[in-house]
Protein backbone atom coordinates (compact mmCIF):
# COMPACT_ATOMS: atom_id res chain seq x y z
CA UNK A 1 0.00 0.00 0.00
CA UNK A 2 2.60 2.54 1.05
CA UNK A 3 4.81 1.36 -1.72
CA UNK A 4 2.09 1.96 -4.23
CA UNK A 5 1.53 5.48 -3.09
CA UNK A 6 5.22 6.21 -3.25
CA UNK A 7 5.35 4.84 -6.75
CA UNK A 8 2.49 6.99 -7.83
CA UNK A 9 4.04 10.09 -6.32
CA UNK A 10 7.28 9.29 -7.99
CA UNK A 11 5.71 8.97 -11.41
CA UNK A 12 3.75 12.21 -10.96
CA UNK A 13 6.80 14.24 -10.13
CA UNK A 14 8.54 12.54 -13.01
CA UNK A 15 5.89 13.78 -15.44
CA UNK A 16 6.15 17.22 -14.01
CA UNK A 17 9.90 17.30 -14.37
CA UNK A 18 9.56 16.11 -17.92
CA UNK A 19 7.02 18.84 -18.53
CA UNK A 20 9.35 21.37 -17.03
CA UNK A 21 12.18 20.39 -19.34
CA UNK A 22 9.85 20.57 -22.33
CA UNK A 23 8.49 23.88 -21.13
CA UNK A 24 11.95 25.38 -20.90
CA UNK A 25 12.77 24.27 -24.43
CA UNK A 26 9.44 25.57 -25.68
CA UNK A 27 9.80 28.93 -24.00
CA UNK A 28 13.47 29.46 -24.85
CA UNK A 29 13.05 31.15 -28.25
CA UNK A 30 10.47 33.66 -27.10
CA UNK A 31 12.55 34.33 -24.00
CA UNK A 32 15.72 35.07 -25.97
CA UNK A 33 13.97 37.29 -28.53
CA UNK A 34 11.96 39.26 -26.00
CA UNK A 35 14.99 39.71 -23.76
CA UNK A 36 16.97 41.30 -26.57
CA UNK A 37 14.43 43.49 -28.28
CA UNK A 38 11.70 44.04 -25.70
CA UNK A 39 13.01 43.67 -22.18
CA UNK A 40 16.30 45.44 -22.77
CA UNK A 41 14.66 48.53 -24.34
CA UNK A 42 12.06 48.33 -21.61
CA UNK A 43 14.65 48.49 -18.86
CA UNK A 44 16.57 51.14 -20.73
CA UNK A 45 13.48 53.29 -21.11
CA UNK A 46 12.69 52.84 -17.43
CA UNK A 47 16.23 53.95 -16.68
CA UNK A 48 15.71 56.99 -18.92
CA UNK A 49 12.48 57.80 -17.11
CA UNK A 50 14.47 58.19 -13.89
CA UNK A 51 16.97 60.58 -15.45
CA UNK A 52 17.10 64.17 -16.53
CA UNK A 53 17.16 63.45 -20.24
CA UNK A 54 16.57 66.66 -22.15
CA UNK A 55 17.98 66.52 -25.67
CA UNK A 56 17.94 70.29 -26.03
CA UNK A 57 20.15 70.71 -22.99
CA UNK A 58 23.09 68.38 -23.57
CA UNK A 59 25.20 70.52 -21.22
CA UNK A 60 23.24 69.26 -18.23
CA UNK A 61 24.16 65.62 -18.85
CA UNK A 62 21.80 62.84 -17.84
CA UNK A 63 21.94 62.54 -14.04
CA UNK A 64 19.41 60.49 -12.06
CA UNK A 65 16.67 62.66 -10.64
CA UNK A 66 14.54 60.08 -8.89
CA UNK A 67 10.84 60.23 -9.61
CA UNK A 68 10.94 63.87 -10.73
CA UNK A 69 9.78 63.02 -14.28
CA UNK A 70 6.82 61.08 -12.89
CA UNK A 71 5.97 63.96 -10.61
CA UNK A 72 6.09 66.30 -13.58
CA UNK A 73 3.84 64.13 -15.72
CA UNK A 74 1.35 63.50 -12.93
CA UNK A 75 0.99 67.22 -12.24
CA UNK A 76 0.87 68.18 -15.90
CA UNK A 77 -2.57 69.42 -16.94
CA UNK A 78 -1.99 68.22 -20.50
CA UNK A 79 -1.32 64.72 -19.24
CA UNK A 80 -4.64 64.59 -17.41
CA UNK A 81 -6.35 66.07 -20.43
CA UNK A 82 -4.87 63.24 -22.50
CA UNK A 83 -5.96 60.66 -19.90
CA UNK A 84 -9.51 61.94 -20.25
CA UNK A 85 -9.37 61.82 -24.03
CA UNK A 86 -7.86 58.33 -23.94
CA UNK A 87 -10.57 57.04 -21.60
CA UNK A 88 -13.33 58.26 -23.90
CA UNK A 89 -11.49 57.08 -26.97
CA UNK A 90 -10.83 53.61 -25.56
CA UNK A 91 -14.33 53.01 -24.24
CA UNK A 92 -16.06 54.08 -27.43
CA UNK A 93 -13.55 52.58 -29.81
CA UNK A 94 -13.28 49.19 -28.07
CA UNK A 95 -17.01 48.79 -27.62
CA UNK A 96 -17.72 49.88 -31.16
CA UNK A 97 -15.13 47.61 -32.75
CA UNK A 98 -15.96 44.55 -30.65
CA UNK A 99 -19.72 44.82 -31.18
CA UNK A 100 -19.26 45.52 -34.86
CA UNK A 101 -16.79 42.66 -35.32
CA UNK A 102 -19.03 40.21 -33.52
CA UNK A 103 -22.03 41.28 -35.55
CA UNK A 104 -20.14 40.97 -38.82
CA UNK A 105 -18.64 37.65 -37.79
CA UNK A 106 -22.11 36.30 -36.97
CA UNK A 107 -23.37 37.58 -40.32
CA UNK A 108 -20.51 36.00 -42.24
CA UNK A 109 -20.87 32.81 -40.25
CA UNK A 110 -24.20 32.24 -42.00
CA UNK A 111 -24.10 30.14 -45.10
CA UNK A 112 -24.88 32.03 -48.26
CA UNK A 113 -23.72 32.16 -51.84
CA UNK A 114 -20.59 34.23 -52.34
CA UNK A 115 -19.57 33.99 -48.71
CA UNK A 116 -15.94 33.36 -49.63
CA UNK A 117 -15.75 36.48 -51.79
CA UNK A 118 -17.44 38.66 -49.16
CA UNK A 119 -15.07 37.38 -46.49
CA UNK A 120 -12.07 38.04 -48.71
CA UNK A 121 -13.25 41.57 -49.49
CA UNK A 122 -13.72 42.23 -45.78
CA UNK A 123 -9.98 41.98 -45.40
CA UNK A 124 -9.22 44.92 -47.71
CA UNK A 125 -8.95 47.57 -44.96
CA UNK A 126 -6.67 45.37 -42.95
CA UNK A 127 -4.26 44.90 -45.84
CA UNK A 128 -3.77 48.59 -46.58
CA UNK A 129 -0.55 50.00 -45.10
CA UNK A 130 -1.11 52.37 -42.18
CA UNK A 131 0.76 55.13 -43.95
CA UNK A 132 -1.68 55.00 -46.83
CA UNK A 133 -4.66 54.54 -44.52
CA UNK A 134 -4.11 57.76 -42.55
CA UNK A 135 -3.62 59.82 -45.66
CA UNK A 136 -6.56 58.21 -47.40
CA UNK A 137 -8.83 59.28 -44.56
CA UNK A 138 -7.35 62.75 -44.47
CA UNK A 139 -8.24 62.97 -48.13
CA UNK A 140 -11.77 61.60 -47.65
CA UNK A 141 -12.41 63.95 -44.72
CA UNK A 142 -11.02 67.01 -46.52
CA UNK A 143 -13.37 69.89 -45.65
CA UNK A 144 -13.41 71.43 -49.12
CA UNK A 145 -13.48 68.60 -51.62
CA UNK A 146 -13.45 65.46 -49.52
CA UNK A 147 -15.50 62.47 -50.59
CA UNK A 148 -17.46 62.27 -47.33
CA UNK A 149 -18.76 65.83 -47.64
CA UNK A 150 -19.52 65.19 -51.30
CA UNK A 151 -21.42 62.00 -50.64
CA UNK A 152 -23.45 63.29 -47.70
CA UNK A 153 -24.43 66.48 -49.49
CA UNK A 154 -25.41 64.57 -52.63
CA UNK A 155 -27.61 62.36 -50.48
CA UNK A 156 -29.09 65.50 -49.00
CA UNK A 157 -28.00 64.64 -45.47
CA UNK A 158 -26.00 67.84 -44.99
CA UNK A 159 -26.61 71.25 -46.51
CA UNK A 160 -23.11 72.66 -46.15
CA UNK A 161 -19.64 71.14 -46.13
CA UNK A 162 -18.43 70.20 -42.66
CA UNK A 163 -14.91 70.63 -41.29
CA UNK A 164 -14.80 67.10 -39.91
CA UNK A 165 -11.50 67.46 -38.14
CA UNK A 166 -12.10 71.01 -36.98
CA UNK A 167 -14.69 70.30 -34.32
CA UNK A 168 -13.64 68.68 -31.05
CA UNK A 169 -16.33 66.03 -30.88
CA UNK A 170 -16.47 65.33 -34.60
CA UNK A 171 -12.70 64.98 -34.81
CA UNK A 172 -12.67 62.31 -32.12
CA UNK A 173 -15.55 60.46 -33.78
CA UNK A 174 -13.80 60.56 -37.14
CA UNK A 175 -10.58 59.22 -35.68
CA UNK A 176 -12.53 56.41 -34.02
CA UNK A 177 -14.36 55.60 -37.26
CA UNK A 178 -11.21 55.62 -39.35
CA UNK A 179 -9.50 53.36 -36.83
CA UNK A 180 -12.50 51.04 -36.66
CA UNK A 181 -12.46 50.74 -40.44
CA UNK A 182 -8.88 49.54 -40.29
CA UNK A 183 -9.04 47.38 -37.16
CA UNK A 184 -12.42 45.66 -37.37
CA UNK A 185 -11.50 43.07 -40.03
CA UNK A 186 -8.81 41.41 -37.95
CA UNK A 187 -10.89 41.24 -34.78
CA UNK A 188 -13.79 39.98 -36.90
CA UNK A 189 -11.55 37.28 -38.32
CA UNK A 190 -10.56 36.15 -34.83
CA UNK A 191 -14.16 35.94 -33.72
CA UNK A 192 -15.20 34.22 -36.92
CA UNK A 193 -12.49 31.60 -36.40
CA UNK A 194 -13.82 31.00 -32.89
CA UNK A 195 -17.41 30.78 -34.12
CA UNK A 196 -16.41 28.14 -36.61
CA UNK A 197 -14.96 26.00 -33.86
CA UNK A 198 -18.31 25.76 -32.06
CA UNK A 199 -19.64 22.24 -32.63
CA UNK A 200 -22.78 22.25 -34.81
CA UNK A 201 -24.48 19.81 -32.45
CA UNK A 202 -24.78 22.56 -29.88
CA UNK A 203 -26.93 24.60 -32.24
CA UNK A 204 -28.92 21.59 -33.24
CA UNK A 205 -29.65 20.85 -29.59
CA UNK A 206 -30.74 24.44 -29.11
CA UNK A 207 -33.01 24.21 -32.11
CA UNK A 208 -34.63 21.11 -30.70
CA UNK A 209 -35.19 23.03 -27.49
CA UNK A 210 -36.96 25.65 -29.61
CA UNK A 211 -34.66 28.44 -28.47
CA UNK A 212 -34.90 31.64 -30.41
CA UNK A 213 -31.97 33.23 -32.20
CA UNK A 214 -31.05 35.71 -29.50
CA UNK A 215 -31.45 33.14 -26.78
CA UNK A 216 -29.04 30.87 -28.61
CA UNK A 217 -26.70 33.78 -29.16
CA UNK A 218 -26.46 34.76 -25.53
CA UNK A 219 -26.75 31.34 -23.99
CA UNK A 220 -24.55 29.30 -26.30
CA UNK A 221 -22.64 31.23 -28.93
CA UNK A 222 -21.16 34.07 -26.93
CA UNK A 223 -20.23 31.98 -23.87
CA UNK A 224 -18.53 29.48 -26.17
CA UNK A 225 -16.29 32.11 -27.72
CA UNK A 226 -15.57 33.90 -24.46
CA UNK A 227 -11.83 33.22 -24.38
CA UNK A 228 -11.50 34.65 -27.88
CA UNK A 229 -13.66 37.64 -27.03
CA UNK A 230 -11.46 38.24 -24.04
CA UNK A 231 -8.32 38.16 -26.18
CA UNK A 232 -9.99 40.47 -28.69
CA UNK A 233 -11.07 42.99 -26.07
CA UNK A 234 -7.66 42.99 -24.41
CA UNK A 235 -5.77 43.46 -27.66
CA UNK A 236 -8.16 46.15 -28.83
CA UNK A 237 -7.79 48.01 -25.54
CA UNK A 238 -4.01 47.93 -25.65
CA UNK A 239 -3.94 49.08 -29.27
CA UNK A 240 -6.46 51.81 -28.59
CA UNK A 241 -4.47 53.17 -25.66
CA UNK A 242 -1.29 53.13 -27.72
CA UNK A 243 -3.02 54.57 -30.76
CA UNK A 244 -0.80 57.15 -32.36
CA UNK A 245 -0.22 56.86 -36.13
CA UNK A 246 -3.68 57.76 -37.23
CA UNK A 247 -4.02 60.62 -34.76
CA UNK A 248 -0.65 61.96 -35.83
CA UNK A 249 -1.68 61.98 -39.48
CA UNK A 250 -5.29 63.11 -39.09
CA UNK A 251 -5.32 65.70 -36.33
CA UNK A 252 -1.90 66.06 -34.67
CA UNK A 253 -3.79 65.79 -31.40
CA UNK A 254 -6.05 68.75 -32.21
CA UNK A 255 -8.33 70.59 -32.38
CA UNK A 256 -7.81 72.00 -28.91
CA UNK A 257 -6.21 68.71 -27.74
CA UNK A 258 -9.51 66.91 -28.35
CA UNK A 259 -7.71 63.91 -29.87
CA UNK A 260 -4.51 64.13 -27.86
CA UNK A 261 -4.35 60.63 -26.37
CA UNK A 262 -1.64 59.41 -24.00
CA UNK A 263 0.14 57.98 -27.03
CA UNK A 264 0.24 61.43 -28.55
CA UNK A 265 1.26 63.01 -25.25
CA UNK A 266 4.24 60.65 -25.13
CA UNK A 267 5.20 61.76 -28.61
CA UNK A 268 4.79 65.40 -27.63
CA UNK A 269 7.10 65.09 -24.64
CA UNK A 270 9.70 62.89 -26.34
CA UNK A 271 9.89 64.42 -29.78
CA UNK A 272 8.42 67.89 -29.70
CA UNK A 273 9.66 68.94 -26.26
CA UNK A 274 12.64 66.58 -26.81
CA UNK A 275 12.52 65.53 -23.19
CA UNK A 276 13.03 61.78 -23.32
CA UNK A 277 12.89 61.45 -19.54
CA UNK A 278 9.37 62.83 -19.34
CA UNK A 279 8.27 60.97 -22.45
CA UNK A 280 9.44 57.68 -21.00
CA UNK A 281 7.80 58.40 -17.66
CA UNK A 282 4.51 59.05 -19.44
CA UNK A 283 4.92 55.82 -21.40
CA UNK A 284 5.52 53.85 -18.23
CA UNK A 285 2.47 55.31 -16.56
CA UNK A 286 0.51 54.36 -19.65
CA UNK A 287 1.86 50.83 -19.49
CA UNK A 288 0.80 50.54 -15.85
CA UNK A 289 -2.73 51.50 -16.86
CA UNK A 290 -2.70 48.87 -19.61
CA UNK A 291 -1.46 46.16 -17.26
CA UNK A 292 -4.10 47.17 -14.74
CA UNK A 293 -6.85 46.93 -17.32
CA UNK A 294 -5.62 43.58 -18.59
CA UNK A 295 -5.63 42.14 -15.09
CA UNK A 296 -9.13 43.52 -14.54
CA UNK A 297 -10.41 41.94 -17.73
CA UNK A 298 -8.85 38.68 -16.78
CA UNK A 299 -10.48 38.76 -13.36
CA UNK A 300 -13.83 39.47 -14.94
CA UNK A 301 -13.40 36.57 -17.33
CA UNK A 302 -12.46 33.95 -14.79
CA UNK A 303 -14.69 35.18 -12.00
CA UNK A 304 -17.78 34.26 -14.00
CA UNK A 305 -16.49 30.89 -14.99
Amino acid sequence: MTLRIREKRHSMSHIKRENLRLAIIMLAPIFVILMAVSVYPLIRSFDISLRLYNLTKPGLGTPYIGLENYRFVLTDARFWQSVKVTAVFVVISVTFVIVLSTAIALLLNCEFRGRGIVRALMLVPWAIPNVANGLMWLWILNPSYGALNGLLSQLGLIDHYIVWLGDKRLALIMVILAEAWKETPFIMLMILAALQSIPKEMYEAAQVDGSRYFQTLFKITLPMIRPTLFVAITLRTIWAIKSFDLIYTLTSGGPDNATSTIGYYTYLRSFISMNLGRGSAAAWLMTLVMIGLTVLYQRALYMEE
Binding site: M26, P29, I33, W126, A127, I128, Y145, Q196, S197
Partner: protein
Protein backbone atom coordinates in the same frame (compact mmCIF):
# COMPACT_ATOMS: atom_id res chain seq x y z
CA UNK B 1 -57.08 27.55 -41.86
CA UNK B 2 -55.31 28.74 -38.84
CA UNK B 3 -52.36 26.64 -39.85
CA UNK B 4 -52.20 28.04 -43.41
CA UNK B 5 -52.17 31.58 -42.07
CA UNK B 6 -49.31 30.83 -39.81
CA UNK B 7 -47.24 29.29 -42.55
CA UNK B 8 -47.58 32.31 -44.90
CA UNK B 9 -46.56 34.52 -42.02
CA UNK B 10 -43.51 32.42 -41.46
CA UNK B 11 -42.63 32.39 -45.16
CA UNK B 12 -43.12 36.14 -45.44
CA UNK B 13 -40.89 36.85 -42.51
CA UNK B 14 -38.35 34.52 -44.05
CA UNK B 15 -38.37 36.55 -47.28
CA UNK B 16 -38.07 39.78 -45.31
CA UNK B 17 -35.20 38.28 -43.37
CA UNK B 18 -33.47 37.35 -46.60
CA UNK B 19 -33.84 40.85 -47.99
CA UNK B 20 -32.58 42.36 -44.75
CA UNK B 21 -29.68 39.96 -44.74
CA UNK B 22 -28.58 40.92 -48.23
CA UNK B 23 -29.07 44.61 -47.49
CA UNK B 24 -26.78 44.22 -44.51
CA UNK B 25 -24.17 42.44 -46.63
CA UNK B 26 -24.36 45.13 -49.31
CA UNK B 27 -24.08 47.94 -46.78
CA UNK B 28 -21.13 46.19 -45.21
CA UNK B 29 -19.37 45.81 -48.53
CA UNK B 30 -20.02 49.43 -49.36
CA UNK B 31 -18.51 50.66 -46.08
CA UNK B 32 -15.50 48.43 -46.52
CA UNK B 33 -14.80 49.04 -50.17
CA UNK B 34 -15.84 52.65 -50.74
CA UNK B 35 -12.74 54.24 -49.14
CA UNK B 36 -10.43 51.92 -51.04
CA UNK B 37 -12.33 52.56 -54.25
CA UNK B 38 -11.88 56.27 -53.69
CA UNK B 39 -8.16 55.77 -53.22
CA UNK B 40 -7.95 53.92 -56.53
CA UNK B 41 -9.99 56.63 -58.28
CA UNK B 42 -7.78 59.32 -56.74
CA UNK B 43 -4.69 57.61 -58.07
CA UNK B 44 -5.93 57.70 -61.68
CA UNK B 45 -7.80 61.01 -61.83
CA UNK B 46 -6.29 64.32 -62.90
CA UNK B 47 -5.65 66.66 -60.00
CA UNK B 48 -8.12 69.22 -61.40
CA UNK B 49 -10.89 66.64 -61.40
CA UNK B 50 -10.08 65.66 -57.81
CA UNK B 51 -10.73 69.19 -56.57
CA UNK B 52 -14.29 69.32 -57.95
CA UNK B 53 -17.42 69.81 -55.88
CA UNK B 54 -19.29 67.51 -55.81
CA UNK B 55 -16.68 64.84 -56.48
CA UNK B 56 -16.72 62.83 -59.68
CA UNK B 57 -17.29 59.31 -58.44
CA UNK B 58 -16.29 57.97 -61.83
CA UNK B 59 -13.39 59.87 -63.38
CA UNK B 60 -14.15 61.44 -66.74
CA UNK B 61 -10.56 61.21 -67.81
CA UNK B 62 -8.10 58.62 -66.61
CA UNK B 63 -4.37 59.13 -66.22
CA UNK B 64 -1.67 56.66 -65.29
CA UNK B 65 1.01 59.30 -65.12
CA UNK B 66 1.43 58.87 -61.37
CA UNK B 67 2.10 55.17 -61.73
CA UNK B 68 4.58 56.01 -64.43
CA UNK B 69 6.11 58.64 -62.18
CA UNK B 70 6.62 56.17 -59.38
CA UNK B 71 7.97 53.42 -61.56
CA UNK B 72 10.21 55.32 -63.91
CA UNK B 73 9.77 59.02 -64.38
CA UNK B 74 10.83 60.26 -60.99
CA UNK B 75 14.03 62.23 -60.99
CA UNK B 76 16.11 60.49 -58.37
CA UNK B 77 17.80 58.06 -60.67
CA UNK B 78 21.33 57.49 -59.55
CA UNK B 79 23.29 54.99 -61.51
CA UNK B 80 22.61 52.10 -59.14
CA UNK B 81 19.71 53.78 -57.46
CA UNK B 82 17.05 54.32 -60.08
CA UNK B 83 13.48 54.68 -58.85
CA UNK B 84 12.42 51.40 -60.38
CA UNK B 85 15.35 49.69 -58.68
CA UNK B 86 14.47 51.38 -55.40
CA UNK B 87 10.92 50.23 -55.71
CA UNK B 88 11.77 46.64 -56.46
CA UNK B 89 14.32 46.67 -53.68
CA UNK B 90 11.67 48.03 -51.33
CA UNK B 91 9.32 45.25 -52.36
CA UNK B 92 11.91 42.52 -51.97
CA UNK B 93 13.03 43.89 -48.59
CA UNK B 94 9.44 43.90 -47.41
CA UNK B 95 8.97 40.32 -48.57
CA UNK B 96 12.11 39.15 -46.84
CA UNK B 97 11.44 40.99 -43.61
CA UNK B 98 7.76 40.11 -43.41
CA UNK B 99 8.40 36.49 -44.37
CA UNK B 100 11.18 35.94 -41.85
CA UNK B 101 9.27 37.70 -39.09
CA UNK B 102 6.21 35.57 -39.76
CA UNK B 103 8.20 32.35 -39.73
CA UNK B 104 9.99 33.12 -36.48
CA UNK B 105 6.88 34.42 -34.75
CA UNK B 106 4.80 31.42 -35.79
CA UNK B 107 7.26 28.85 -34.53
CA UNK B 108 8.28 30.62 -31.34
CA UNK B 109 4.74 31.80 -30.61
CA UNK B 110 3.12 28.37 -30.97
CA UNK B 111 5.84 26.78 -28.88
CA UNK B 112 5.29 29.28 -26.09
CA UNK B 113 1.51 29.07 -26.24
CA UNK B 114 1.67 25.28 -26.11
CA UNK B 115 3.95 25.39 -23.08
CA UNK B 116 1.68 27.85 -21.30
CA UNK B 117 -1.59 26.04 -21.97
CA UNK B 118 -0.67 22.36 -21.91
CA UNK B 119 2.30 21.79 -19.61
CA UNK B 120 0.72 22.91 -16.39
CA UNK B 121 3.36 25.50 -15.72
CA UNK B 122 2.70 27.19 -12.39
CA UNK B 123 1.57 30.78 -12.90
CA UNK B 124 1.20 30.19 -16.65
CA UNK B 125 -1.35 32.93 -16.91
CA UNK B 126 0.89 35.38 -15.10
CA UNK B 127 3.73 34.50 -17.44
CA UNK B 128 1.42 35.18 -20.35
CA UNK B 129 0.60 38.56 -18.84
CA UNK B 130 4.29 39.40 -18.54
CA UNK B 131 4.90 38.41 -22.14
CA UNK B 132 1.97 40.51 -23.21
CA UNK B 133 3.10 43.36 -21.00
CA UNK B 134 6.40 43.56 -22.84
CA UNK B 135 4.69 44.84 -25.96
CA UNK B 136 2.79 47.55 -24.19
CA UNK B 137 5.37 50.32 -24.30
CA UNK B 138 4.76 52.54 -27.32
CA UNK B 139 7.28 52.36 -30.15
CA UNK B 140 8.19 56.03 -29.74
CA UNK B 141 9.81 55.33 -26.40
CA UNK B 142 11.59 52.09 -27.15
CA UNK B 143 12.84 53.23 -30.54
CA UNK B 144 15.85 55.04 -29.13
CA UNK B 145 17.03 52.15 -26.89
CA UNK B 146 16.58 49.77 -29.83
CA UNK B 147 18.47 52.14 -32.06
CA UNK B 148 21.32 52.32 -29.55
CA UNK B 149 21.43 48.54 -29.28
CA UNK B 150 21.45 47.98 -33.02
CA UNK B 151 24.05 50.68 -33.62
CA UNK B 152 26.25 49.03 -31.03
CA UNK B 153 26.11 45.71 -32.85
CA UNK B 154 26.27 47.29 -36.31
CA UNK B 155 22.84 46.04 -37.20
CA UNK B 156 21.32 49.30 -38.41
CA UNK B 157 20.19 48.98 -42.01
CA UNK B 158 20.35 45.19 -42.05
CA UNK B 159 17.57 42.66 -42.53
CA UNK B 160 18.10 41.02 -39.15
CA UNK B 161 18.18 44.48 -37.58
CA UNK B 162 14.57 44.91 -38.65
CA UNK B 163 13.32 41.34 -38.26
CA UNK B 164 14.38 41.11 -34.60
CA UNK B 165 12.54 44.20 -33.38
CA UNK B 166 9.51 43.15 -35.41
CA UNK B 167 9.53 39.78 -33.68
CA UNK B 168 9.70 41.57 -30.36
CA UNK B 169 6.76 43.66 -31.45
CA UNK B 170 4.59 40.80 -32.70
CA UNK B 171 5.54 37.71 -30.75
CA UNK B 172 3.53 38.65 -27.66
CA UNK B 173 0.36 39.13 -29.71
CA UNK B 174 0.95 35.94 -31.67
CA UNK B 175 1.50 33.99 -28.46
CA UNK B 176 -1.54 35.60 -26.91
CA UNK B 177 -3.82 34.72 -29.80
CA UNK B 178 -2.58 31.13 -29.96
CA UNK B 179 -2.89 30.92 -26.18
CA UNK B 180 -6.56 31.85 -26.41
CA UNK B 181 -7.05 29.52 -29.33
CA UNK B 182 -5.41 26.50 -27.71
CA UNK B 183 -7.48 27.12 -24.58
CA UNK B 184 -10.70 26.93 -26.57
CA UNK B 185 -9.79 23.51 -27.97
CA UNK B 186 -11.29 20.79 -25.77
CA UNK B 187 -8.64 18.80 -23.94
CA UNK B 188 -10.55 15.56 -24.31
CA UNK B 189 -9.12 15.12 -27.78
CA UNK B 190 -5.53 15.18 -26.54
CA UNK B 191 -6.30 13.07 -23.56
CA UNK B 192 -7.66 10.44 -25.90
CA UNK B 193 -4.46 10.60 -27.91
CA UNK B 194 -2.36 10.34 -24.79
CA UNK B 195 -4.21 7.27 -23.69
CA UNK B 196 -3.20 5.88 -27.08
CA UNK B 197 0.40 6.36 -25.98
CA UNK B 198 1.34 9.73 -27.41
CA UNK B 199 3.55 12.06 -25.40
CA UNK B 200 2.37 15.58 -24.67
CA UNK B 201 4.38 16.97 -27.53
CA UNK B 202 3.18 14.31 -29.95
CA UNK B 203 -0.43 14.80 -28.99
CA UNK B 204 0.03 18.52 -29.44
CA UNK B 205 1.58 18.14 -32.87
CA UNK B 206 -0.85 15.47 -34.04
CA UNK B 207 -4.08 16.65 -32.47
CA UNK B 208 -4.02 20.26 -31.37
CA UNK B 209 -2.02 21.83 -34.15
CA UNK B 210 -4.05 20.35 -37.04
CA UNK B 211 -7.33 21.64 -35.63
CA UNK B 212 -5.80 25.05 -34.96
CA UNK B 213 -5.77 25.79 -38.69
CA UNK B 214 -7.99 28.87 -38.63
CA UNK B 215 -6.11 30.38 -35.70
CA UNK B 216 -2.77 29.69 -37.32
CA UNK B 217 -3.83 31.17 -40.62
CA UNK B 218 -5.18 34.26 -38.89
CA UNK B 219 -1.93 34.68 -36.99
CA UNK B 220 0.21 34.16 -40.09
CA UNK B 221 -1.81 36.74 -41.95
CA UNK B 222 -1.64 39.09 -38.98
CA UNK B 223 2.13 38.86 -38.62
CA UNK B 224 2.80 39.11 -42.31
CA UNK B 225 0.57 42.09 -42.88
CA UNK B 226 1.65 43.85 -39.72
CA UNK B 227 5.32 43.58 -40.57
CA UNK B 228 4.61 44.50 -44.17
CA UNK B 229 2.73 47.61 -43.11
CA UNK B 230 4.87 48.70 -40.18
CA UNK B 231 6.31 52.13 -40.73
CA UNK B 232 7.86 53.87 -37.76
CA UNK B 233 10.54 51.31 -36.92
CA UNK B 234 11.33 50.73 -40.58
CA UNK B 235 11.76 54.47 -40.98
CA UNK B 236 14.33 54.79 -38.24
CA UNK B 237 16.12 51.44 -38.44
CA UNK B 238 16.76 51.32 -42.18
CA UNK B 239 18.81 53.57 -44.41
CA UNK B 240 19.49 52.91 -48.05
CA UNK B 241 19.86 49.13 -48.23
CA UNK B 242 16.91 47.71 -46.37
CA UNK B 243 14.16 50.31 -46.74
CA UNK B 244 10.84 48.56 -46.86
CA UNK B 245 8.08 49.42 -49.28
CA UNK B 246 6.08 51.59 -46.87
CA UNK B 247 9.07 53.84 -46.31
CA UNK B 248 9.79 53.90 -50.04
CA UNK B 249 6.21 54.94 -50.75
CA UNK B 250 6.36 57.99 -48.50
CA UNK B 251 9.72 58.89 -49.97
CA UNK B 252 8.14 59.06 -53.41
CA UNK B 253 4.81 60.49 -52.48
CA UNK B 254 5.49 63.37 -50.13
CA UNK B 255 7.61 65.52 -52.33
CA UNK B 256 6.53 68.97 -51.34
CA UNK B 257 3.52 68.41 -49.23
CA UNK B 258 1.05 65.66 -49.03
CA UNK B 259 0.34 64.91 -52.64
CA UNK B 260 -2.83 62.85 -52.25
CA UNK B 261 -2.85 61.61 -55.81
CA UNK B 262 0.69 60.29 -55.53
CA UNK B 263 0.13 58.89 -52.09
CA UNK B 264 -3.00 57.14 -53.25
CA UNK B 265 -0.93 55.65 -56.04
CA UNK B 266 1.77 54.53 -53.64
CA UNK B 267 -0.93 53.25 -51.33
CA UNK B 268 -2.54 51.19 -54.09
CA UNK B 269 0.80 49.71 -55.17
CA UNK B 270 1.83 49.02 -51.59
CA UNK B 271 -1.53 47.41 -50.85
CA UNK B 272 -1.42 44.92 -53.69
CA UNK B 273 0.99 42.38 -52.16
CA UNK B 274 -0.69 42.34 -48.73
CA UNK B 275 -4.08 42.13 -50.46
CA UNK B 276 -2.92 39.11 -52.42
CA UNK B 277 -1.60 37.51 -49.25
CA UNK B 278 -4.82 38.27 -47.42
CA UNK B 279 -6.93 36.85 -50.23
CA UNK B 280 -4.82 33.72 -50.55
CA UNK B 281 -4.80 33.07 -46.83
CA UNK B 282 -8.50 33.82 -46.67
CA UNK B 283 -9.13 30.98 -49.12
CA UNK B 284 -6.92 28.81 -46.98
CA UNK B 285 -8.85 29.93 -43.97
CA UNK B 286 -12.18 29.00 -45.52
CA UNK B 287 -10.74 25.68 -46.63
CA UNK B 288 -9.46 25.06 -43.11
CA UNK B 289 -12.80 25.97 -41.67
CA UNK B 290 -14.94 23.88 -43.99
CA UNK B 291 -12.68 20.88 -43.41
CA UNK B 292 -14.49 21.01 -40.11
CA UNK B 293 -12.08 18.97 -38.06
CA UNK B 294 -13.41 20.59 -34.91
CA UNK B 295 -16.81 19.05 -34.66
CA UNK B 296 -16.67 17.94 -31.10
Amino acid sequence: MNLAKKSTKVRLSKAVKKVLFWLAILFLLFCVLAPFYWMVVSSISYQAELALRPPHWFPEEVTFSRYQQIFEGFRTGFADNSPAAKFTRGLSNSFTVAGLTTLICMVAGCMAAFALTRLGIPHGRTLMMIILGSQMLPAIVIIIPINLLLQKYHMIDTIQGLVLPYCGLMLPTVTWIMYGYFLSIPREMEEAAMIDGCTKLQSFLKVVLPVSGPGLVAVTAYTFLYSWNEFFMALTLTQTNTKTITVTITEFASLFGTDYGLLATGGVIGSIPPLIVAFLLQRYLVAGLTAGSVKG
